[in-house]
Amino acid sequence: MISEKDITTRIVPSWCVGCGNFGILSSLKRAIVNLVNQGLYKLEQFVLISGIGCHGKLTNYLELNSVHTIHGRVLPVATGIKLANPDLIVIGHAGDGDAYAIGIAHLIHTAKRNIPVVYIVHNNYRFGLTAGQVTPTTELGEKTRSTPYGNPEEPINPILLALSSGATFVARGFAGDVQHLTWLIEEAIKHRGFALIDVIQPCKTWDPIHTFEYWRERVYKLENTGHDPKDLLSAIRKAIEWNGKVPIGIFYRVEKPTLIDRIPQYKIELKPVRVVKRSLAKLLEEFR
């Protein structure tokens, strides 16, 4: 039996007091500890990847394999790891800037490929670490460091985009509900396919309006509504809904072959981490 302490480093998190990232970190730790203690995975199988931003510091706090990659590129790194060693459990963490601004292309394509990795987006509606600029999820009209006259753009809908890209597990979590988020992360890890969890993560510094309280009053759980996560059209309908109330939970979950299932070589002898010499003379035979 392991405990959260066993996967925690000596580093004190450098997030602002009251930051939503703490809730995500706790949920992640709990999920991993639970799954390991259930005997489903070994600790060394986990690989975390984080982008650049406040959220990205998470890899410093966990005594687990990790890649603190460059801004916006969590998913291609995740893809590479998974393709090279499908036995690893890959969990990517990105900010909303990371994931939906500079890195949006990779979300679409990783979902399309159904790469079996978990993608946790710390959605605080701001570029946090670079000091509070607008992101693709910031609401229309909001004033930020880079939009003093109010954001002239409507926000994107990451849930809808992920659904439209073929993601097989699409969920929204809330950093203020650690128990629920822990459950979501566990389900996402167990899911055989690409799993997005967009997590509402209050940023008290750059967005004092959308606080924990703000969200707590508005979120409700899809699990309690009879929503059928196997139905794409209902999922889309739920994704479009943003009428004062905000659904959290699993919008969509289906089983579909992953890219690894569909690449025939994996069934033969492809083990990209096993590097073996091939005879040069033999390789050159066809050229003579």
């Binding site: 480093t9 580093i11 070994k42 060394e44 199988q45 690989v47 990847i49 650049i52 510091k57 890899t59 410093n60 005594e63 687990l64 394999n65 990790s66 890649v67 603190h68 990659t69 460059i70 590129r73 291609p76 790194v77 995740a78 893809t79 590479g80 790891i81 998974k82 393709l83 090279a84 060693n85 036995d87 690893l88 292309a105 990779h106 394509h109 690449i263 070589q265 033969i268 002898e269 492809l270 083990k271 990209p272 981490v273 096993r274 590097v275 073996v276 010499k277 091939r278 005879s279 040069l280 003379a281 390789l283 050159l284 066809e286 050229f287 003579r288």
Partner: protein, 575 residues
């Protein structure tokens, strides 16, 4: 031009299979032990326009094409226009008279209705080329057998092979019937050649073979001319424990590669200038996080989109300095297909041994042309993955400070090891740190590798000298310019001009002392580069303070011919 060379040009619209015909012809000659360079040119379009290939054949080594040809096979009017002026005085033009509309009168011109005959015989029209090859062989007085072997190797389907074999005979017969006397005075050593088959391979294939020999497990790319054929080749080889995959962009490709490398794969990424530009940020990530990876960068005429299907050597400096900040990298620029096979293996080892990124710098000319070589002696390189640890005792530190700057490397999944890598400056465990002392010690750790890298490349002849090694005249060059320079040397020798030829293979780390040695006593130094600004010259000035006396540059997207080099050198010499 020395007459132990034979050159055949085949030209026609894109979509006619011109390049394939060049390959067939080159392959045929290589099978009887001759040296071949088959260098093609095609525009950036899929059908129409003008494709052609120059197949240069010799008993001696050959690494370039000649300005003039002994036989021109023209499959449309454009091909006639473009190449009629390239005929040697005693050369022969063979053209498809069912396509070419132009009136052609001359006793060295052979018009034969290949397309019509193909149609009549119920062949696919595309066999017109093979017929023309038959006609060519007749005029050369060469046996068709080797070409038959080449055909059977080239085509998968039996029916296609048979159709082409028939077309070949038909073409030969046609020529014999209509122009029995139109003959080339084929050099005797070509006519009578029956040596062992040579290896006949393109630069792209050479990269593939080298990488596979070195145990490559992951190839990632986004398609781009002229490196796409590497992807096309490797995707067919995936049964052998190799994943070759196309990603959504070059950025995705290299980062997928870096993820795979971190996880333990041996990774190659292929691209050209535009894609390499997009990879610049990730290159620095590899530098900072110390992730081994090899990028093969096939240069083309730039800047920007430039001429996508045409050659150039404009990216040397960019390869040396791409990405912000300072970190060691390997750059090797092989000059021919044999060197490409060799250095690809070497670089896959070196990048893992030193845990740094590496770049194999080739160009369109080398990547997509076919050349021969004889033997594989000393060509195979053992796999060396450096300081890999499979078992971990005690605390594993990914960035442990060591004397040579290289830390033991574990892959994720290793019990007891937390393998943490980081694009941010970090401590030995890979945890982010902003401490100025940590920054200095980690910068020093990374840059300390350079000294050992510089030592290491000495094992792999970072500089080669050919010709008269004591001569006061030196021609200095890099990359695929090797072919025309070495071929030009034979012409210079004939004219009694002595010179040494100095080829730089490694550009990072730069082999200062070897370069200085190679130039010792040289008074006149002539650079030859396929670019406009003489990037090699700037590197020589920077690293060894050597000034070049004359610069020969070609920057029209086309490779040098030996004559270009010869004439430029002669002009200088005459001064």
């Amino acid at each position: 031009m020395s007459k132990n060379l034979l050159q055949i040009t085949i030209g026609g619209p894109a979509g006619f299979g011109i390049l394939r015909s060049g390959w067939l012809l080159g392959k045929a000659f290589s099978l009887i032990g001759l040296n071949v360079a088959a260098i093609s040119e095609y525009p950036s379009r899929i059908e129409g326009g003008h494709n052609y290939v120059d197949v240069c054949i010799s008993k001696d080594p050959v690494g370039s094409k000649q300005p003039k040809s002994d036989v021109v096979v023209a499959l449309d009017d454009l091909a006639v226009d473009r190449h009629i002026g390239r005929l040697e005085d005693d050369g022969i033009l063979i053209y498809d008279s069912s396509i070419v509309k132009k009136e052609l009168k001359g006793d060295r011109f052979a018009g034969l209705p290949f397309t019509r005959v193909a149609r009549e015989r119920g062949f696919d029209e595309i066999t017109r080329n093979t017929m023309a090859l038959g006609a060519t062989l007749y005029s050369l007085g060469m046996d068709v057998q080797p070409l038959k072997v080449a055909i059977s190797k080239a085509f998968g389907k039996k029916e296609v092979v048979e159709m082409n074999l028939k077309a070949l005979e038909v073409g030969l017969e046609l020529m014999r019937e209509v122009y029995p006397g139109l003959k080339i005075n084929t050099p005797i050593e070509i006519l009578k050649a029956n040596g062992d088959p040579k290896y006949f391979i393109s630069g792209n294939e050479a990269v593939a073979v080298g990488a596979m020999a070195a145990g490559l497990t992951v190839y990632v790319a986004y398609p781009i001319t002229p490196i796409s054929p590497l992807l096309h080749y490797l995707v067919t080889k995936q049964e052998h424990g190799l994943l070759a995959y196309q990603l959504e962009s070059e950025i995705a490709a290299i980062l997928t590669g870096l993820g795979a490398s971190y996880a333990g794969a041996r990774v190659l990424v292929g691209t050209s200038g535009p894609g390499f530009s997009l990879m610049a940020e990730s290159l620095g990530f590899a530098g900072m996080a110390e992730i081994p990876i090899v990028i093969v960068l096939a240069q083309r005429y730039g800047p920007s989109t430039g001429l996508p299907t045409h050659t150039g050597q404009g990216d040397l400096r960019f390869a040396m300095h791409a990405s912000q900040g300072e970190f060691p990298r390997f750059i090797v620029a092989p000059g021919d297909v044999r060197e490409t096979i060799y250095y690809t293996q070497v670089l896959l080892n070196l990048t893992e041994k030193f845990q740094v990124p590496g770049i194999i710098l080739i160009d369109r000319c080398l990547a997509e042309s076919y050349f021969t070589f004889d033997d594989i002696d000393g060509l195979e390189v053992d796999i060396d993955r450096g300081k890999i640890v499979e078992e971990v005792k005690g605390k594993y530190k990914r960035y442990e400070i060591t004397d040579d700057g290289v830390s033991p490397l574990a892959f994720p999944g290793t019990p007891n090891a937390v393998v943490r890598i980081n694009s941010h400056e970090h401590d030995e465990e890979g945890i982010s740190s902003e401490d100025p002392k940590v920054a200095v010690s980690m910068s020093d750790k990374r840059l300390r590798k350079l000294k050992f890298m510089r030592e290491e490349i000495k094992k792999y002849t970072p500089v080669k000298v050919y010709g008269d090694k004591e001569s006061k005249n030196a021609i200095i060059f890099w990359g695929s310019v090797k072919g025309p320079v070495l071929d030009a040397y034979r012409l210079l020798e004939r004219d009694g001009i002595s010179c040494r030829l100095v080829q730089i293979l490694f550009f990072s780390p730069f082999p200062d002392s070897e370069v200085l040695d190679s130039l010792k006593g040289a008074e006149m130094i002539i650079s030859v580069e396929n670019n406009a600004t003489s990037q090699l010259v700037s590197v020589l000035r920077e690293f060894v303070g050597v000034s070049v006396s004359y610069r020969v540059n070609k920057y029209d997207g086309r490779p040098f011919t030996p004559i270009d080099v010869y004439e430029a050198v002669m002009k200088v010499m005459r001064k």
